[in-house]
Symmetry: C2
Subunit: 233 residues, 2 copies
């Protein structure tokens, strides 16, 4: 039973709550029964596994938790990255909100076979908010890292200024397809635009907001591509 | 210039950060330049409008902010509710996460003509997290409150256990349509199921997660219904 806050495992967990601690060690933290159970079911062995009252005093575990309410269990895992390929993948550029990155990892797990591929300017998918938003999908389907120019397949960008709707643009599309999604306000920079084979828009009301949330846009895009591919099959 | 934390407007704002304070007064708070500007553009007149350094000492404004980083401007507004009707509306049951409620308000603003209708067990759409997640769509498209049985139109529930896909179930659908979305894990209780005219599922991979995020599911549903109605028109 760990009873001192100077314990090395607790210190390690505390360090992993920061991006620097994660990138220097290649490890990350999952908090809570649901996430730790999902990790186990997905065949991940924790490097550290601490349960309140069994392995550590509850207050000490709460001290290193990223949750305001504290937590009863923490697992530490080695980061894994997938290969950036599949019939349908999603590529993110400049998606800096970790909640959105995690939510898109969950959406891709539900809706397509390929991983979420992280380009420049994206939030760390192994940060606590992203891991939590992924609801454990980060274990079943670890993300990939690549620049768009390296990727094979048809690269279709979601862009509210496009002439074609998603439905029109995907009519004759064949896998592999990479759905490209950028930051909500900025859209794609020139170097990304140069790599795209086409752009498509999600039809929106003229009296609507300036943009959709990036996780919603990605989900709708993956849904449409999934329907499209099912029709081909 | 307000220089005392005992100022009545600051006290009022502080109270409005709690659900109780909002329901007893019928007011709510929007923080930050973007939201306050959107409110103005949507024709909302603030009951209180405080800008750091101009109307109030910055530290005092930060003290009543719901944002960890503080804020430069706060507006207080009277809550408004829409009538629960439109060609396409979305009805939420038991969606208790305020971020999801706000995100769905934004999605509905982009994708359908009707409001988000809040049933039992939903988060307060005028709480700070929901207002923020709506990105100002709460001003353009205030939510409605109703029970499902009061609503007119075809009531279609999203349910991962349904036989029909969304595409199949909406094939011959005509407006008005109410898309019904429940809590992520629990699904619909019996009294909601009894009101539904049909259920449909969003096709998901068998090796995927147990469920989609409720805001993603609602967005995909509204997208599909929007496409469907566009074909009818």
């Amino acid at each position: 039973m760990i009873t001192s806050r100077d314990n090395s495992q607790l210190k390690q967990i505390h360090k992993l709550q920061s991006k620097k601690g994660r990138s220097s060690s290649g490890l990350f933290v999952a908090e809570g029964e649901d996430l730790v159970t999902t990790a186990e079911e997905s065949g991940w062995t924790p490097e550290i596994h601490l349960r309140a009252d069994e392995d550590v005093e509850p207050e000490l575990l709460d001290r290193v938790s990223s949750l305001g309410s504290g937590t009863r269990v923490i697992g530490v895992y080695r980061q894994r990255w997938s290969e950036p390929r599949g019939d349908i993948c999603v590529y993110l550029h400049g998606v800096s909100d970790p909640g959105n990155v995690g939510t898109i990892i969950r959406a891709a797990h539900a809706l397509c076979d390929g991983p979420v591929i992280l380009g420049a300017g994206c939030a760390d998918p192994f940060g606590p908010k992203a891991v939590r938003a992924s609801m454990g999908s980060i274990f079943a389907r670890p993300p990939a890292k690549a620049s768009l120019s390296e990727l094979a397949g048809l690269k279709l960008g979601l862009d509210s200024g496009a002439d074609s709707t998603l439905l029109e643009a995907t009519q004759d599309a064949n896998p592999p397809i990479v759905l490209c999604v950028g930051a909500e306000r900025e859209g794609f920079p020139d170097e990304v635009v140069a790599c795209l084979d086409g752009i498509a828009r999600i039809p929106q009301r003229l009296d609507g907001p300036d943009s959709l949330n990036v996780a919603m846009a990605a989900s709708i895009g993956l849904y449409e591509l999934g329907n499209r591919m099912a029709h081909h099959a």
